[in-house]
């Protein structure tokens, strides 16, 4: 697909629907979860049967507030719910409970990081403003079979936080970066799992284009119900190209609702029933306005984790990690915290620890979990780590053994593999395998002297003494051989120089 000519600028706003991490539904006590038999997670409140009344789930409200605090939004004193009226089989009550005028979260911003020129170069950072976020109920799921459609209300009433951005995004890459950042923030704060395979995060994507330098926004289209980050990216690319084509051909853009066919990689006009947007909102008479105490906001504020990019800056600036390792570690909070525990146990070499965690540990965890994907962005990360046999202090112990010259870096890889399998301490494995490099000076001195006395190396010794520094290396091989590779190379070098001086 072609990129737009540079005199066109694309303007993107997203509406991100996220299922909140709760056990019960948002206005009903029915449980919910993925993969249950159809209509087994439905109660009278979900269906809006006569005599039922919705009552708001505290956890859903608190998770919404926590999201607001994570993005630095304001949490208004009051929020309230409205009825959005429409007839469609996915909507059991003929209205959806949502928040139109007084949402739970107002404002805020999400820091994003664009891809760098290469994997080890950090890209540009930007802030994307959040307009508001409101707490509503999800609707049921339709499937189409022959001449009819089937309705499963398990999803109806699941707490859904709709996060609405300002039209601040300017490219498909920015939209993608925004969603990655948002997912990391939501999962790290425990607000939502954001498992897109389970439909826990779905997007509506508003796209318009305008001539560069023009302030007035162009007519936008809304592509609904995108269920993956790649679909959002592809929609932006497709829709931008389509709108450029239309305008350059002298046609105009129709404000319309569109769908996305991910298999065919193309958008299409949704045959919206006319009046579909005439929702006749009014305040829900069953749910009173909610006053949110400042004590609650303060209590939830303590649960806000360190922002992932603040963490990344700290790792690079304070701990001296390479960007590549830092950017991998900060994507999953459990991983970052695991790393920090290891650093606490061996504070002098954070980079050594980071490399083992970001490369070896992640690779082996992914392999043992039977998938190739890294833990980044995944709510499954804590699960994988909790099944990890190596404890942070044990990994620190391994790095310390390497730093102290007890084993070589090459041997450390071997010990790591063993630790991953058995969960044993590095020192125990080193001893059991007899890997410990010989640092016993007395024994080594004897071997060094014997090797020096061997006429076979006399020529090398003469060269070294004549000023050829490199000639000393020819003596190290025989010493290593006689110690079966266990001698500490640093010590050998020291002893050779001492005896040859």
């Amino acid at each position: 697909m072609s990129t737009p000519p540079s005199d066109w600028e694309v303007v993107i706003g997203l509406e991100v629907h996220v299922q909140l991490h709760t056990r019960a539904k948002v206005f009903a006590s029915s449980p919910w979860g993925f993969g249950k038999e159809p209509n087994e997670q439905v109660d009278p409140v979900v269906l809006g049967l006569p005599g039922t009344l919705p009552v708001v789930n505290r956890e859903a409200v608190e998770k919404s507030i926590l999201f607001g605090l994570v993005v630095g939004a304001s949490v208004p004193e009051h929020c309230s719910w409205d009825r959005k009226n429409y007839f469609y089989p996915d909507n059991p009550k003929n209205y959806q409970l949502t928040q139109k005028d007084f949402p739970v979260v107002v404002g805020g911003q999400v820091e994003i990081e664009l891809p760098g020129a290469s994997r080890n170069v950090m890209g540009e950072h930007k802030f994307i403003r959040i307009h508001h976020a409101h707490l509503e109920e999800d609707v049921g799921k339709l499937s189409h079979a022959g001449s009819g459609s089937l309705v499963d209300y398990n999803r109806a009433g699941v707490p859904l936080l709709e996060i609405v951005t300002e039209p601040d995004l300017r490219s498909s890459a920015e939209a993608e970066a925004f969603l990655r950042s948002l997912v990391a923030m939501l999962t790290q704060a425990g607000v939502a799992d954001c498992d897109m395979e389970k439909g826990q995060l779905r997007c509506d994507c508003n796209v318009s284009i305008r001539r560069r330098g023009v302030e007035k926004l162009g007519t936008r289209t809304e592509t609904k119900n995108l269920n993956s980050i790649s679909s959002v990216r592809d929609t932006v690319i497709y829709e931008t190209a389509r709108q450029v084509r239309e305008l350059e051909a002298g046609r105009s853009i129709t404000q319309e609702t569109r769908g996305w066919n991910a298999e065919l990689g193309r958008g299409y006009v949704l045959r919206d029933k006319e009046d579909a947007h005439d929702y006749r909102y009014f305040p829900d008479p069953d749910i009173p306005t909610l006053k949110i105490s400042r004590e609650t906001v303060a209590r939830l504020g303590k649960l806000v984790p360190e922002n992932l990019y603040d963490r990344q800056r700290r790792y690079v600036d304070k701990l001296g990690l390479p960007y590549t390792a830092a950017s991998v570690l900060v994507n999953a909070r459990a991983l970052a915290e695991w790393f920090e525990l290891a650093v606490a146990a061996h504070p002098t070499n954070p980079s050594g620890i980071a490399n083992l965690v970001a490369n070896d540990l992640l690779r082996d965890l992914a392999a043992s979990a039977g998938n190739a994907g890294p833990l980044a962005d995944s709510a499954a990360a804590p699960v994988s780590l909790s099944s990890c046999l190596i404890k942070p202090a044990q990994l620190a112990g391994l790095v310390k053994l390497t730093d102290d010259g007890v084993i070589s870096k090459q041997q450390a890889k071997e010990v790591f593999t063993e630790m991953f399998k058995s969960g044993q301490d590095a020192a125990a494995i080193v001893d059991a395998k007899g890997l410990r490099q010989n640092s016993d000076t007395g024994e080594l001195e004897k071997i060094v002297q014997e090797v020096i006395a061997d006429p076979a190396v006399a020529k090398s010794i003469a060269e070294y003494r004549a000023g050829n520094e490199k000639a000393i290396n020819a003596l190290k091989g025989p010493i290593m051989k006689r110690t079966q590779g266990k001698a500490n190379p640093v010590l050998i070098d020291q002893l050779l120089r001492k005896f040859l001086a």
Partner: protein, 96 residues
């Protein structure tokens, strides 16, 4: 009194099929109702949220899962069902 609404449009949105007589009757009644709201809107009231309709967080529900109806009960109250799901005339929102 000029009507601030289109009775045919409202009937359509509400999926109501009204006779000519009903349209006249409901237009008149709806106008009266809207008149009452206009009276409320005209009243000089402070722009604050009505305390009587405000609750604090004690009125929230704890996140404890409760009983469910079960698919059998859910589908029994529907006009038609199949395989534990409610069966409705085909609604199309996909590309076709």
């Amino acid at each position: 009194m000029a009507e601030g609404f289109d009775i045919d449009h409202l009937a359509k949105l509400a999926r109501l099929s009204l006779t000519a007589e009903e349209k006249v009757l409901y237009s008149s009644q709806l106008n009266q109702i809207l008149g009452h709201f206009q009276a409320l809107a005209d009243a000089d009231l402070p722009a604050t949220i009505d305390d009587a309709r405000v609750v604090n967080e004690a009125a929230l529900r704890s996140d404890e899962p409760g009983p469910v109806l079960g698919a059998e009960a859910v589908t029994r109250i529907a006009p038609a069902s199949r395989d534990g799901q409610i069966s409705v005339p085909r609604v199309v929102d996909d590309e076709s």
